[in-house]
Symmetry: C2
Subunit: 201 residues, 2 copies
Amino acid sequence: MTDKIIFEKIILATHNQGKIREFSRLFAPLGVEIIASHTLNLEEPEETGSSFSDNALLKARAACKSTGLPALADDSGLAVTALNGAPGIYSARWAEQQDGQKDFIKAMTKLHDALADSPDRSAAFVAVLALVTPERQEHLFEGRAEGEIIWPPRGDQGFGYDPVFVPHGDTKTFAEMSATEKQIFSHRAKAFNALREALFI
Amino acid sequence: MTDKIIFEKIILATHNQGKIREFSRLFAPLGVEIIASHTLNLEEPEETGSSFSDNALLKARAACKSTGLPALADDSGLAVTALNGAPGIYSARWAEQQDGQKDFIKAMTKLHDALADSPDRSAAFVAVLALVTPERQEHLFEGRAEGEIIWPPRGDQGFGYDPVFVPHGDTKTFAEMSATEKQIFSHRAKAFNALREALFI
């Protein structure tokens, strides 16, 4: 095994504590230290892109530019076939309340209503990781968890749309799985594995 | 040396015979066969992007989508500091005549006129390579040759803006250099080397 591109430190462009923990754990065996962008008081740019890739790239580019270090960002969401990929990059925004809090019961109900007339229930959780280097290399990796939207919601693990998503190859929703079980199907883990295989091993 | 990502064949999204020869030669030692997109009758999409990266990506994405194979495309041009990066993605278009032929004497004169009042003559030839895989990985590599714009034009080798560009570290214009001499500074060679180091060795 050759560690090819030697990144000692990578800025992680997120304010999400869960993602910081997850990526720190994933990168540790590669000898890479993850520095959370909020510890450097970096502003997160607005997610004005029209795709997961655009949004991940603009966050990673901004963090790389501010710090001069390689920067990683991700964007992810649920893409429903019969809705032409919606809610997609708006997955979190579908849940937003006027007070800024998120209500995913409301978002899942909205999804169920939008699918009312559709026999096609196929959907995928999609994650895109963008890694941008000071030498102006840009790397994008997509990971997908293919599955079906079910109704009513089941389970209380996980977050977001997990209670209405059953991945292919299982009968439980993501919200009925332990973190370890869910990891097998995880779109974010698949994107990370693609990154690791392409750039590190 | 581990060949990490094993690409046996890569579609090269260009109709330019010179680029097909150059990339076939560069990829041969990596055991990669270059297939020119025109041999498959693939249409080249319009270059509607707003950056070298955008244009290279949209060509590579289109070729990957049509063929289901990894696809490589490049975009390049001359970025002049005092002109905020112009002619940039319009480098070739600055030379276009009404009959579709290219006149780079005209383009170099236009550049010289635009720089008339500017003491800053710094510029860079920039090349961006985009490699897109069917697994939806996207890799971008930038190569730059930094230098100065001079006047009047000198030399008759090369093409495009070569007669008015002197790279840092030399006194000859690109058009006064042999292909071998120019290769040392080549923006496209630097982008290729970044790709090779990141993905192959």
